[in-house]
């Protein structure tokens, strides 16, 4: 079981690296989908309450939304926008990958430094969470396409979700569902906005959205 959990965590870290190293947007979406599925399974692997009905329900909802529904929505937006690649990101791919490695090391180091009020269940989840959050923020600031930025936002949310897992925090069910619903609505509204942007501007490079300034 322990081996399996570690393998899942390792794959999750790899999905992050895949996201920052790939220029094909569809590949990035698949990486995020894979991350969503694995992340949804994670609460069943780590944490004190393995197989309660509540954990299973939340896990199922997470897998369906983050693993299948969001990627489907984004792939649709991608097709309608008629772009395939993130050309000329603000930070190149090789450099991005190196920054990713630095972030990973920082997350590993920092994860060990935090004083924990309770003994943690699996020591790798906290570094994973911090790495995922940092990768999400990095993608938001270093990529131009609106769609890639939404992916960054999703990955950041995933990281925060993993952070909650690391401490086995259990918010009331209603709140957890509310958080999922908000993420759902956020991606939905962003998807619609991307559709409008690509129709209105014939591109979705957010750095070219620069009419409003002082």
């Amino acid at each position: 079981m322990k081996l399996f959990t570690d393998a899942v965590i390792a794959i999750l870290i790899l999905t992050n690296l895949r996201l920052i190293a790939s220029s094909r947007i569809s590949a990035c979406i698949y990486a995020v989908a894979c991350q969503g599925v694995l992340l949804g399974m994670l609460p069943l692997l780590v944490g004190p309450h393995y197989l309660t009905v509540r954990a299973c329900a939340l896990s199922g909802a997470t897998v369906i939304l983050k693993g299948f529904f969001f990627p489907w929505l984004l792939l649709r937006a991608l097709r309608s926008a008629n772009v395939r690649r993130e050309m000329e990101p603000l930070v190149g791919y090789t450099l991005s990958l190196m920054i990713g490695a630095v972030l990973l090391a920082a997350a590993m180091w920092f994860g060990r430094q935090l004083p924990l009020p309770v003994p943690d269940h699996s020591p790798m989840v906290l570094p994973l969470a911090m790495f995922t959050i940092m990768v999400g923020l990095f993608v938001i600031v270093s990529r131009r396409k609106a769609l890639t930025q939404v992916l960054g936002y999703l990955v950041m949310e995933n990281g925060i979700y993993a952070f909650g897992l690391a401490f086995a925090l259990s918010e009331p069910l209603l709140v957890e569902l509310g958080i999922l619903l908000d993420a759902f609505m956020a991606v939905f509204v962003m998807g619609i906005t991307i559709f409008h942007i690509s129709r209105e501007f014939d591109h979705m490079d957010t750095d070219r959205l620069s009419a409003l300034r002082d």
């Binding site: 004190p48 004083p115 009020p117 309770v118 003994p119 959050i133 923020l137 938001i140 609106a146 930025q149 936002y153 950041m156 949310e157 925060i160 952070f163 909650g164 401490f167 925090l169 918010e171 009331p172 209603l174 709140v175 957890e176 509310g178 958080i179 619903l181 908000d182 609505m185 956020a186 509204v189 962003m190 906005t193 409008h196 942007i197 209105e200 501007f201 957010t206 959205l209 620069s210 009419a211 409003l212 002082d214």
Partner: protein, 501 residues
């Protein structure tokens, strides 16, 4: 139990109904009826406080009631204005007055639905006592208001919507992380933790892990501060406020920013209870001064009058944050100022909408003679300017004075001086813009410049529905400057005591 639920169920049901009602008249009636009913409910809550629901998850405390009243009252004004706005709007394709391209509006049904959802989510922010629920509600306000900003379907509003969505969502994401850190701070041992309810966090304040609470406070202030428009996280605010239709700008500035401020106050309450109040206040003080400085710098060189108002909102959020940072008597000042700012800024944005409709430009130098062309709006524009910059006899004068006095009483001379200098710079900066717009004779813009709007000046710029709401808000500001009703004073004092620890 049922009454407290009505505050957000009523607008949600009305919003869904608005989506499916085919008749424009009936839909507008729904909007008005909901706004009136919501306001009446809030008024009832002043007399008889509704019972909490869901084990104190939803509870109307003094602080919540104060902010709910602001939201409700401002929404009432904005909804009457909206009906006037809808009647005046040209719903077909028309030409953009800056870019010259064609654009149309969003469907009125969708817009009304989002407007009502926006009211529901803001009410939920005021009622929510659980930090998780509070987060859900604040994020929901972003999502329900984003379509409102993209009402005029053109490029600039789309850009503003995108920035608003992205920056606020990321900010709110950080607040979620802050919530988790708060949960870690509230973990007392294996399988034992304090629930994230405001009341239980306050009563167990001493048991919370101080380091994690500090981290949580920082993340929550940065997260909700993005929504609040504190510099340097304010960059979405001028764009969103200037591109949204005017009643939406009024709601964003007067109601939404306050909701974010309420969220910040909630976490400050927890910090106070844990004995970390001073730490939190120092941070808020810093953000407050920085926001005021940034606002002053951008107001002075501003040529777009709606952006000027947006930067003024940043300034006032800075004042609120500064006042809470000072503490003591300034708590009362901060809450009073929140009321004053909302009413005044709501009025100013509504008047700005009237000016925009008449002149078809947001550029201040191109607007001349507003006092002649729009007699009532012109007067309100000047009165609103005087009020917002803290001139007597309006409400903001009193609240800004209270804040200044408490800074002096605490012997914080440097802060008081900086505060006064920034206020004067902003006064001069705004005066130069506002007076120039009102004076002189209305300039006729050549028809050749503006194909499609050749029949300038606009036909009768002022209708009752677009003039009375700002007028009422303006009178309220004036009354608050002359006489503070005892009921409001009592509520402000109780609420100030709640955040004072």
């Amino acid at each position: 139990m049922t009454m407290i639920l009505l505050f957000f169920l009523l607008p949600i049901i009305a919003g869904v109904a608005a989506l499916f009602v085919p008749s424009d008249r009936f839909r507008r009636l729904i909007l008005l009826a909901t706004a009136v009913a919501h306001c009446a409910l809030t008024g009832l809550a002043w007399v008889h406080r509704p019972a909490p629901a869901f084990g104190c998850w939803l509870l109307l405390d003094d602080l919540g009631l104060l902010f709910l009243s602001i939201v409700s009252f401002l929404f009432l004004a904005a909804s009457f204005y909206s009906v006037g706005y809808f009647q005046r709007e040209d719903w077909g394709n028309r030409q953009d007055f800056e870019g010259g391209f064609l654009f149309s509006n969003a469907r009125e049904a969708t817009f009304t639905c989002c407007l009502l959802f926006f009211l529901a989510t803001m009410s939920l922010v005021c009622l929510g006592q659980d930090f998780g629920l509070l987060w859900v509600a604040v994020e929901a306000t972003t999502l329900s208001s984003a379509p409102l900003i993209y009402f005029h379907r053109h490029r600039r509003s789309l850009e503003a919507t995108w920035k608003y969505l992205m920056i606020c969502s990321v900010g709110i994401g950080l607040a979620l992380l802050g919530n988790f850190c708060l949960a870690v701070a509230a973990t007392l041992g294996p399988d034992k933790s304090v629930p994230l309810l405001l009341s239980s966090l306050i009563s167990h304040g001493g048991l919370l892990h101080p380091l994690w609470l500090k981290v949580a406070f920082l993340l929550l202030v940065v997260g909700y501060g993005t929504k609040l428009g504190l510099a340097p996280m304010h960059t979405w605010l001028p764009d969103a406020h200037s591109e949204a239709p005017s009643m939406v700008s009024a709601l964003l500035s007067g109601a939404l920013l306050n909701c974010a401020f309420l969220a910040v106050l909630r976490i400050l309450q927890v910090c106070q209870a844990a004995g970390l109040g001073e730490f939190g206040q120092h941070i808020l003080l810093g953000f407050g001064l920085l926001s005021m400085t940034v606002a002053a710098l951008f107001i002075v060189a501003q040529s777009d009058y709606k952006r000027m108002l947006a930067y003024s909102s940043i300034e006032h959020m800075g004042i609120l944050s500064l006042a809470v940072g000072l503490g003591g008597a300034a708590y009362f000042g901060a809450l009073f100022h929140a009321v004053n700012h909302s009413l005044t800024k709501g009025m100013l944005f509504l008047v700005a909408g009237n000016i925009l409709t008449a002149y078809k430009t947001k550029s201040a130098p191109e607007v001349r003679g507003a006092a002649k062309l729009l007699p009532i709006s012109g007067v309100l524009w000047v009165a609103g300017f005087l009020a917002i910059t803290g001139s007597p006899p309006f409400g903001p004068f009193l609240s800004e004075l209270i804040i200044l006095k408490s800074a002096l009483d605490q012997g914080r001379i440097v802060i008081a001086v900086v505060y006064l200098v920034l206020l004067s710079v902003i006064f001069i900066g705004m005066a130069a813009i506002v007076f120039r717009m009102c004076q002189g004779a209305p300039v006729e813009r050549a028809a050749a410049d503006l194909p499609g709007v050749g029949d300038f000046p606009a036909p009768a710029g002022e209708s009752a529905l677009t003039v009375i709401p700002p007028l009422v808000l303006g009178l309220a500001v004036l009354v608050l400057g002359l006489y503070l009703p005892p009921a409001l004073k009592g509520l402000l004092e109780h609420a100030a005591r709640a955040i004072g620890g």
